[in-house]
Symmetry: C2
Subunit: 359 residues, 2 copies
């Protein structure tokens, strides 16, 4: 339904209707101008040729420094989604299953299905603060389990996995010899400090997926990266060679400029989204919706008992607001996801429309 809602929103807009778009994780802010200029300078300098399928060396070195790993553990991908696909394709195309906690980012299950891998879902609940129960996780693992996917902070709940739970998950994965793929694309801009998968086992036993989209408002630039052991990095590179070849070098130069300015850019983004989240929580609380307070940009994932979220979401579109139904993130029919990706006055207007529609 996520893509259908978006297509319908685009269609209504094309017909001249005004829609406040809170249905995607695509920030309304602009890519910082320094990043745009860096791309332009690189293009003009002729950085428009085929290049390494690993990614540019200087970008790998910089990312290795940021994450305290070796450059040989870093491979650049056209968006973090490609990194997730490539990892799953290489590890699961021969068969096996993957464990995915829900609510989840839609793409994980769609990728698994496309590859032909089996999916085992591990349900978490709002009422239990969206906590993963390590014992339940352990019970799900069987001989065919090849991978556990974590999304930390989580889309759609914006919850961070607490240290103790993450310790427990990693311990089980290590004991059973299962690889964790940790998608931490919201990690740098989380409101609370989060432990990374790289904090365990000297770094690269498990896999980190990350990207520039959310931290640097570069969604449409399509650049991300995987940090993993050298063998997987080499295999993703070989897959890059027969698929996407390389991320355009001028885009890698732009990302490098973003990294140089990362503290200042990330702080500004965090501040803006924290204020939006606080405002949204205040408005939504008044109307008796249940939700956990966001610990990261960009989402709130409220529950309204008895809600048919697909119907609700479609009806809401006709009222000029696009949000995503809970069913796009697993079996969460009574939930819907609001992306706080609009200026505050627009968010305020839409939240009032949402609360009114729920009455």
């Amino acid at each position: 339904m996520l893509y259908e809602i978006n297509e319908k929103a685009l269609k209504l807009e094309a017909e001249g209707k005004k829609i406040i778009r809170l249905n995607l994780g695509d920030p309304d802010l602009e890519t910082p101008p320094e990043i745009v200029e860096a791309a332009y300078q690189a293009m003009k300098a002729g950085k428009t040729k085929y290049s390494s399928a690993y990614g540019e060396n200087k970008l790998r070195v910089k990312l290795a420094e940021v994450h305290d790993v070796k450059p040989e553990n870093v491979v650049i991908t056209p968006g973090s989604k490609w990194g997730v696909f490539a990892t799953m394709y290489l590890m699961l195309k021969g068969g096996g299953n993957v464990i995915i906690p829900t609510p989840y980012w839609t793409a994980y299950e769609l990728i698994a299905k496309s590859i032909g891998a089996k999916v085992k879902l591990l349900r978490t609940e709002l009422e239990n603060d969206w906590k993963i129960d390590p014992a339940e996780l352990e019970a799900l693992i069987d001989k065919e389990t090849k991978m556990i996917i974590l999304n930390n902070p989580n889309n759609p709940t914006s919850k961070v996995i607490d240290d103790k739970t993450l310790d427990g998950i990693v311990e089980i994965a290590n004991k059973k010899g299962i690889t964790i793929l940790s998608d931490e694309v919201y990690g740098t801009i989380a409101f609370t400090k989060t432990k990374s998968i790289l904090d365990y086992n000297g770094g690269c036993k498990h896999i980190l997926s990350n990207g520039f989209s959310k931290t640097f408002t570069m969604t449409g630039w399509r650049i991300g990266y995987i940090i993993a052991d050298k063998l997987l990095v080499d295999n993703i590179t070989k897959l890059n060679q027969i698929t996407i070849n390389n991320v355009p070098v001028f885009i890698q130069e732009a990302a490098l400029k973003g990294l140089e300015l990362r503290k200042q850019i990330a702080n500004a983004i965090k501040k803006e989204y924290k204020e939006r989240a606080d405002m949204a929580c205040k408005i939504l609380s008044k109307d008796g919706l249940s939700f956990t307070k966001p610990e990261a940009p960009f989402y709130v994932f409220p529950k309204h008992p008895g809600l048919d979220s697909e119907k609700f979401t479609l009806d809401l579109l006709d009222k000029g607001v696009a949000v995503a139904p809970g069913t796009s993130f697993g079996d969460y029919r009574e939930h819907f996801r609001i992306s706080l990706t609009a200026p505050r006055p627009k968010i305020k207007t839409s939240l009032n429309i949402i609360c009114e529609a729920l009455k």
Copy 2:
């Protein structure tokens, strides 16, 4: 060996050695400045967001006009290689085999192997003017055959498939119900008129893969497209949604600018490469090498009886010239591929070094 030669060339260059790089299909010319400016203007206008996995509507409309198909038959891909991978992945992941004439572009067989599809090679020979024999093709087809890949004009031979042969191939494919994937990335800049796969059966029964890399000197920009029936276009789009998402919109705007200027740009490229090819043929003929005259940029694929092309290619690197061994394109140990992707004086120097080394 193609990638190993390139890595060794890069390594030697990093050590300060001067290498004339005739080993890749990466033109030495620059991307036209109008294209660079179009990208910059689009970036500054905020075209840096998530976008349609089909590609931008106006680019699809323009390509549909160029190829005389409907926009719904066009999907934009991050390089033509991604289009080839996506098509093969969708059609072959369930099993089956693909027929590939040789010499071939290395990626086709590597992609098939990665997906787990079987490959049936259809050998062509210099002595027979690199002609595909339709009867041999027909004999190779079995119940498991899902696809025939044509590369027209061909990399590495720069030969165009003559109309009669292509008619014969299409007739067999239609009779047997096999899909042809026709990679025509060198088609627009061929020196002789070439028939396209779209000239048959009202256009979209078979599949066209094409890109902007070669025609517009945009190799490193990573943009191409597939033209096919609506069902495959929709399925590639769904695959895009869970992998690369979309080609950056500013890159699509740059490609659109290229299309607007395509006659002038393509003519200039054709003229330059025709002159390079004529010069190369003259030098190589004197030394008794056998080859067919290029009918398109960028390659010559000469044969030297008794040659061990891998050893020859590696030794040649130490003499300052990088070319690709024939074994990178199938079982062609006595051949090597020269890319005419350097200014004429450099090509002349390297051809003399090559001829000397072959004595």
